[in-house]
Amino acid sequence: MKKEDTVKLISAEGMEFVIDKEAAMVSQTIRNMLTSPGGFAEAEHGEVTFPEISAVILEKICQYFYWSLQYSRGKETEFHIEPELTLELMMAANYLHT
C-alpha cells in the first residue's frame, strides 16, 4: 500500500488506524479535510486526529467505511452494530457526516 493512498485516523486515546484514503473519504467531513485546497494540515500529513472519538468507536467507523465501499459495489450484507455502541457511534456519525 503506497503511503499517499492511505490516511491515519487517530482516536482520543492516541490509537492510530491506517486505512485506505478511498475508505476514509466515505465520510464527508474527512473528505473535506483531505481535499480542500490549501486548507487543513490534515491534507498535508494524511493524518486526522479525533479528540472526541474513542478507539472502540473509531474502529467501528473504519469497519463501516469498508462495509460501505463493498455495499456500493453490490455486496449488500448487513452491518452489525452492538447496542451498547449505538449512541456514541451515532454522535460520531453525525460529526463525520457519515
Binding site: 467507523i61 463501516y64 460501505s68 455495499y71 456500493s72 459495489r73 453490490g74 449488500e76 452491518f79 452494530i81 447496542p83 449505538t86 449512541l87 457511534l89 451515532m90 454522535m91 456519525a93 453525525n94 463525520l96 457519515t98
Partner: protein, 578 residues
C-alpha cells in the same frame, strides 16, 4: 445543525386541484392520481441498478428503533439527532405513548403526527415539554381536545400549527393559541367547531402568513377578526359553503394576500368586486362558485394574477371577451363550463399561459385555432371535448407541451401524427376507444414520455412493439382488452415503470406476471379481470416496492395475497381482493 437543514416546510403554492386537473373519471383504481392522495407518508422508491448505501447515521437510527426498549431517555443526544430518531419512529409507525415519554425535554423542533393513530391528550405533556425549541406541530386527525391544545401555550416559538379535522377542538381551545404570536402558518381544515367567534383568537397572530380553514362550516362572519393580519399571504377557505360576499368584504384589506382559495362557496360577482385592491394576488381559486363572466371585470384589476381557476362555474360565452384582459395569466382552469369556440377567441392573446384546462367544455376543432399562438403552453387539457383529428394540427406548433390530455375526444389514429413533433411531451392521455395500434405507431418520436394512458384504447399485442420507444415510461395504462401475454413481453423492458395498469385484458395469464417480475420499481400494479391465479403470485416476490396490487375478478384469494405480503412484500399497503 442537521435539524435546521432538514426542515421541510409545507410550501404548497398552487392548490393541487389546479395542477392535477379536475376529472370526474371513475373506475380507474390504480391510477397515479389515486396514489397521490392515498399515501400521505413519503415513500422510498428503489432506483433499479443503483445500490443506495445507507449512511452510518441511518443504520444507527434503525438500530435504536429496533432496541427502543433499552433506552429510557434521549435527552443526552443533540436535538437534531433525537429529532431524526423521533421521525423514524413515526415514519415506521413504531411510536407509542410509552416510547414518546423517552423524548421528554429533548428540544425537538418538529412533531409531525398528522393522521398518526392513537394520538390524544395524554401525548401533549411530552410534546409541550419541548418548550421553546418546538417550531412546528401537526396533530391532524387526532383526538386531542381543548385541554391538550392548551398545553402548547408555553411553546412560544411555534411557527406552524396544524390541527386538521380534529373534532374535539372547539372555540374554547382556540383561545389558548392567541398568545402564540410567532405563528406563521395555521391550519384547522374541516373543523366544525371553529366558529366566527372563535376566530377572535386569530386576531393577535400578527405574524400569520398562511391560514387554512378549508371545509370549516361555521366561520361565516369571523373574518372581521383577521382584518389586522397584514402579513397574511395565503388564505384557503375552499369548500366553506357558509362563505358569502360579506366575508370577502372583511378580507378586502389584506393587501399582502398572494393566494386566495374560495372555491365551492357562496360568493357572487358582487363579492369579488371587494377584491379589486389585492394587487399582490397571484392565485385565485373560484372553482364551483356561483359567478358569471361578469366577475372578470373585478378580476382584471388583479394585476399580479397568474393562476385563475373558474372551473365548474357555469360560465357561458356571454361576457367572455373579458378574458382577453388577463394577459398575465399563466394558469387558467375553465373546465366544466358551458363555453364554446366563441370563448376561445378571447384567449388568443394570453400568450403567457403555460397551462390551460378545457376539460368537458363545448369546444371543437375550430376553437383550437386560437391556441396556436400560446407558444409557452406546457399543459393542455382537452378531455371530454368535441375536439377531433382535424383540430390537432393547431397544436403541432406548441412545442413546449409537456402534458396533453385527449381522453374521450373524437381524435382518431389519423390525427395523431400531428403530435409527432411534440417531443417535449411527458404525459399523454389517449384514453379513447377509437385509438388503435395505428395511432400509437405515429407517436414513436415521443421518446420523452413518462406517462402514457391508453386506458380504453384498442391496443393489441402488435401495438405494444411501439412501446419500446418509450424507455422513460413511469406509468402505463392499457386496459382495452386486446392484450395477451405476448404483448406483455414488450412491456417488461420498460425499467422505470412504477405504475402499470393492464386490467380488463381478460386473456392475460400468470405468464404475464412472470414477465413483469423484473420491473422492480413498480409501486402500483393492476391486472384485474384477467386469468391470473394464486399460482402466479410468487412471481411478484421481487417487486419489493409494490404498495398497491389489484387483482380483482381473478382466481386470486385475499388469503394468498396476504401471505405474499407478509413474506415478500413489506411495502404493500393496499390490495384487492382484500
Amino acid at each position: 445543525m442537521g435539524g435546521v437543514c432538514s426542515r421541510k416546510r409545507d410550501q404548497q403554492v398552487v392548490e393541487d386541484g389546479m395542477r392535477r386537473g379536475v376529472s370526474g373519471r371513475y373506475g380507474k383504481s390504480g391510477s397515479s392520481k389515486w396514489l397521490l392522495t392515498s399515501f400521505s407518508r413519503p415513500m422510498v422508491v428503489h432506483q433499479p441498478g443503483l445500490a443506495n448505501c445507507p449512511s452510518l447515521m441511518e443504520l444507527c437510527i434503525h438500530k435504536i428503533c429496533e432496541d427502543i426498549n433499552q433506552y429510557s431517555s434521549f435527552t443526552m443526544l443533540p436535538k437534531d439527532i433525537s429529532q431524526q430518531i423521533f421521525n423514524k419512529l413515526v415514519l415506521s409507525h413504531l411510536l407509542t405513548d410509552v416510547f414518546l415519554q423517552k423524548f421528554r425535554d429533548c428540544a425537538l423542533e418538529d412533531v409531525w403526527l398528522g393522521e398518526y393513530p392513537g394520538v390524544q391528550d395524554s401525548w401533549m405533556d411530552v410534546i409541550s415539554s419541548q418548550g421553546t425549541s418546538l417550531l412546528s406541530v401537526d396533530l391532524s386527525g387526532s383526538d386531542v381536545t381543548d385541554i391538550g391544545l392548551g398545553l402548547l401555550k408555553e411553546c412560544s416559538s411555534l411557527q406552524a400549527l396544524t390541527f386538521n379535522h380534529c373534532e374535539n377542538i372547539s372555540e374554547i381551545g382556540l383561545k389558548h393559541i392567541s398568545g402564540l404570536t410567532n405563528l406563521t402558518s395555521l391550519s384547522f381544515k374541516k373543523s366544525a367547531a371553529i366558529t366566527a367567534e372563535g376566530m377572535c383568537a386569530f386576531s393577535s397572530l400578527i405574524n400569520l402568513e398562511k391560514l387554512d380553514l378549508e371545509r370549516c362550516t361555521g366561520i361565516h362572519g369571523g373574518f372581521v377578526h383577521i382584518k389586522g393580519l397584514s402579513k397574511l399571504e395565503s388564505l384557503n377557505i375552499r369548500c366553506c359553503k357558509c362563505i358569502t360576499d360579506l366575508d370577502l368584504k372583511a378580507i378586502s384589506g389584506l393587501n399582502n394576500l398572494k393566494e386566495l382559495q374560495i372555491s365551492n362557496s357562496n360568493v357572487t360577482d358582487f363579492g369579488l368586486s371587494y377584491l379589486r385592491g389585492l394587487h399582490k394576488l397571484v392565485m385565485l381559486n373560484l372553482e364551483g362558485c356561483n359567478v358569471t363572466a361578469g366577475c372578470l371585470d373585478s378580476i382584471s384589476a388583479l394585476v399580479a394574477l397568474a393562476f385563475l381557476n373558474v372551473g365548474r362555474c357555469g360560465l357561458t360565452d356571454d361576457g367572455c371577451d373579458k378574458f382577453s384582459g388577463l394577459e398575465s395569466l399563466k394558469v387558467l382552469n375553465l373546465a366544466f363550463n358551458n363555453i364554446t369556440d366563441a370563448c376561445l377567441v378571447h384567449l388568443k392573446g394570453l400568450t403567457n399561459l403555460e397551462s390551460l384546462n378545457l376539460d368537458s367544455c363545448k369546444i371543437g376543432d375550430e376553437g383550437l385555432a386560437n391556441l396556436t399562438g400560446l407558444s409557452l403552453l406546457k399543459s393542455l387539457e382537452l378531455s371530454d371535448t368535441e375536439v377531433g383529428s382535424s383540430g390537432l394540427r393547431h397544436l403541432s406548433g406548441l412545442t413546449h407541451l409537456e402534458t396533453l390530455n385527449l381522453s374521450f375526444t373524437l381524435v382518431t389514429d389519423s390525427g395523431l401524427k400531428k403530435l409527432s413533433g411534440l417531443t417535449a411531451l411527458k404525459s399523454l392521455n389517449l384514453d379513447a376507444r377509437q385509438i388503435t395500434d395505428a395511432g400509437l405507431s405515429a407517436l414513436t418520436s415521443l421518446t420523452g414520455l413518462v406517462h402514457l394512458d391508453l386506458f380504453g384504447a384498442r391496443i393489441s399485442d402488435t401495438g405494444t412493439n411501439y412501446l419500446r420507444c418509450f424507455k422513460n415510461l413511469q406509468s402505463l395504462e392499457i386496459c382495452g382488452g386486446g392484450l395477451t401475454d405476448a404483448g406483455v413481453k414488450n412491456i417488461k423492458d420498460l425499467p422505470s415503470l412504477t405504475l402499470l395498469n393492464l386490467s380488463q385484458n381478460c386473456n392475460l395469464t400468470n405468464k404475464s406476471l412472470e414477465l413483469i417480475s423484473g420491473l422492480n420499481a413498480l409501486v402500483s400494479l393492476n391486472v384485474s379481470n384477467s386469468n391470473i391465479t394464486n399460482d402466479g403470485l410468487p412471481y411478484l416476490k421481487p417487486l419489493k416496492n409494490l404498495r398497491s396490487l389489484s387483482l380483482e375478478s381473478c382466481k386470486v384469494t385475499a388469503a394468498e395475497i396476504k401471505k405474499l405480503q407478509s413474506t415478500a412484500l413489506p411495502n404493500l399497503v393496499s390490495f384487492r381482493p382484500e
